[in-house]
Amino acid sequence: MRPASEAEVCDMVQAAGPLVIRGGGTRGIGRAVGQVLETSGLAGISLYEPGALTLVAQAGTPLAETEAILAGERQRLAFEVPDLRPLLGRGGVSTIGGVVAANASGPRRVQVGACRDALLGVRFVDGRGEVIKNGGRVMKNVTGYDLVKLLAGSHGALGVITEVSFKVQAMPEVETTLVGDLEEMAGLVALRAALRSPFDVSGAAYAEGRAMIRLEGLAGSVGYRRQALAAVLGGDWDVMEGAASADLWRRVRDVAAFADMAGAVWKLSVKPSDAAEIVASLAALEVQAIYDWGGGLVWLLVPQDDAGAVRVAVAAKGGHATLVRGLAGMTAAVFPPEPAGVAALTAGLRAQFDPRGILNAGIMG
């Protein structure tokens, strides 16, 4: 099913049995079953005010189109949306609604927050087939409960998102990355030291044997911070500028290093200083790791199934693990298990928003 309007979404949801909600099918995870309802028919930018840093788009609007329109005004989505198609072995056109449903957020998360932090408003059709709007198009809004956050990252389980509004960001004048060839432990220590400094780091990752720390902003300011930061960190740092820097971060953002490697891929959300230890505890499984968010996000490549071991290792330190790319025949839960209290609240919310249990049933717990 491919509705062409919000009203059609309502009709289809009211009439439907189990549905798999999909934007472009480029990043969805989980094992929902049912008839596919695709939002790509709901397309178009409804409002863009560069001077107010706000953009409103229909959920099916291609991400690329959204980014191109913003780039025309030298603006962008601040949260740096990952393109996981190569990693997940998928094609298709990523939609802005799908980005929101997955709360897809890249390396700049450490500085500006996630997709959910830039999301100002949503319209969605709940499992009863009713249109609900929440939030709006202004940057500060505490009017009523924040269902905007609830919908961001809900993976289609609470409703079919039909329209989203964002706070956008001006593109920086320059970007620079400090690159250091360091052992893993030393590299991660450097990332945390950089994030503790006042130099407004916009990316802190360790991948493929290199620590990378990004600075963005006005030319003079970035030049100053680059020197000041290198002095604080000590040691030798190469400097990558402009397009070369952007390429580095695109690789981190898209988990490019694992795209052509066999194995399950996990996304771990942990306390940054625990990251290396968690990975080390899984050394016997011959795992490989890419660290982003200063270590707070670990992309873990695990050659065999070993789902239980991964979850146990994360639980031992605190945090959670999501299976982003499984192996053939793997049956482990994709989403992390939830403590009883949280699980009860989540189940309660799903029952309220989707009493018939037809929206992406079977995902998220």
Binding site: D117, M139, N141, G144, A152, G153, A170, L218, H320, R350
Partner: protein, 477 residues
């Protein structure tokens, strides 16, 4: 403002309720003498007062859970209270409620600079969170103007902002995790010292739920390294429209000041008479603050100056030293006090798209003239969060009602141009009955359903946020 009639059955069981509470709390933590419960009769929205049945001041999450279990079992409404600084009546009691104050829970539980978070009990004041980490070069970013007094619990309930949220975001963007006690006493931990809480974003909906979903007893907050320095400039214009365009041009140019504050002529005149900050007598005044090292500040201010000068300002004033910087902020920081010298005032909090600024200011002026009330505007221009201050005389019969009606019209105007009723103060009782202006019945119903999940009996802060008639059947349940 109408509040539900107290439940006579609950009032008649006061002795029994107090006895049960004394069974789980020390004597000094249960306040039930009418002479003492009066201390909790209002928050910072002082026009409305009502002493509660009792007030409790627990010291731990377990004590909070014990209190809530009792009140849940006895069907007694509970109104959570941080420091009582709500401007929206968020902590206003009803005569049949128990006030649950978290003020005694103010400890720092953990600071972790390597992972940049602090975990505190929720009664800790906003400023003392920064106080606990600033010697080590860190700060907690949300800075509501009541930050000396307001509690983190209240900040989370209202999703508080502040002058610097243009760059750093509001509470929800700086909150990593909470310990929440539900009305039935269930203790839930959501999130933690990692960036994504995982699963459906419960943390996101708990923040800003005005104490209606649970009582937050502990919070994990993101702390940030302090910038090297900050410096403001002052720019005066002879037209609101031009000042608004200047703000928009600065934002479009990719400069991100930490604050852009706006004052209009009535407000400038009032603060000059009160604080003598030496502001120019002009139609609109901007205070723009940027952060960084001295050289970075110079670079940003040079850009801002170049943009401002294309708009022919009456004045562009830079701060050569700390004292001059302080004087630039002096009038802005005295604005509320200055308006209070003239008369009683009501402070509104609607947000509008920045592009609607000139139209909205003009309409507010016209509407004020029509109803014969003076209004000054001071607000966070970068994010469109307005703070119109309507002057009235509380001793003059009918003036408060006239002021409230005018305020409601201003908020309707905010919604009409694409904005919202409240940007950072919350709905409370103050804007409760205007919610249907912004939301369709289905939009409100979806929010009610969230409360149904967390607090099915609707006992937590029940008469707030939503129009009373819309929630009557649920509250009766």
């Amino acid at each position: 403002m109408e509040m539900p009639l107290p439940d006579a059955a609950i009032l008649s069981r006061k002795a029994e309720i107090v006895a049960r509470l004394l069974g789980v709390l020390p004597t000094d933590a249960v306040i039930h003498d009418p002479a003492e419960t009066r201390a909790y009769e209002c928050d910072a929205l002082t026009a409305y007062r009502c002493a509660p049945l009792a007030a409790v001041l627990p010291r731990s999450t377990d004590e909070v859970a014990a209190v809530l279990r009792i009140c849940h079992e006895m069907r007694v409404p509970v109104v959570p209270r941080g420091s009582g600084t709500s401007l929206a009546g968020g902590a206003l009691p009803t005569a049949d409620c128990v006030i649950l104050g978290v003020a005694r829970m103010n400890a720092v539980l953990e600071t972790d600079y390597d992972n940049r978070f602090i975990r505190v009990q929720s009664g800790r004041t906003n400023l003392s969170v920064t106080g606990a980490v600033e010697a080590d070069g860190f700060f907690y970013a949300p800075d509501p103007s009541s930050q000396l007094a307001c509690a983190i619990a209240g900040n989370i309930a209202m999703n508080s902002g502040g002058a610097h949220c243009l760059k750093y975001g509001v509470t929800t963007n700086n909150l990593l995790g909470v310990t929440l006690v539900q009305m039935d006493g269930t203790i839930v931990t959501v999130g933690g010292p990692w960036l994504d809480a995982g699963g459906i974003d419960l943390l996101g909906v708990i923040c800003g739920s005005e104490g209606q979903l649970g009582v937050v007893t502990e919070a994990t907050l993101r702390i940030l390294p302090k910038p090297e320095g900050a410096r403001p400039v002052l720019v005066g214009f002879n037209s609101n429209e031009v000042a608004g365009t200047c703000v928009s041009d600065i934002i479009k140019a990719g400069i991100l000041p930490v604050a852009i504050e706006f004052m209009d002529r009535p407000c400038i005149r009032a603060t000059e008479a009160f604080a003598h900050a030496g502001y120019p007598d002009c139609e609109a005044l901007l205070i723009i603050e940027v952060e960084g090292s001295p050289a970075e500040i110079d670079e940003q201010l040079a850009r801002i100056k170049a943009i401002a000068l294309t708009h022919d300002p009456v004045e562009f004033r830079e701060a050569a030293d700390e004292d001059q910087a302080r004087r630039i902020w002096l009038g802005r920081k005295s604005a509320f006090g200055a308006m209070g010298q003239i008369n009683d005032y009501m402070c509104l909090d609607g947000t509008i798209p920045v592009s609607s600024l000139p139209y909205v200011l003009r309409r507010i002026g016209e509407m004020g003239a029509e109803c014969g009330l003076d209004v000054g505007n001071v607000f966070h221009a970068g994010d469109g969060n307005m703070h119109p201050l309507i002057l009235f005389d509380a001793n003059k019969p009918g003036d408060l009602e006239r002021c409230e009606a005018f305020g409601a019209d201003i908020l309707k105007l905010c919604v009409e141009v694409g904005g919202c009723l409240t940007g950072e103060h919350g709905v409370g009782i103050e804007k409760r009955d205007l919610m249907s202006v912004q939301f369709a019945p289905a939009d409100l119903e979806a929010q009610f359903r969230v409360k149904d999940v967390f607090d099915p009996a609707w006992l937590l802060n029940p008469a707030k946020v939503f129009p009373l008639e819309a929630t009557a059947s649920r509250r009766a349940g």
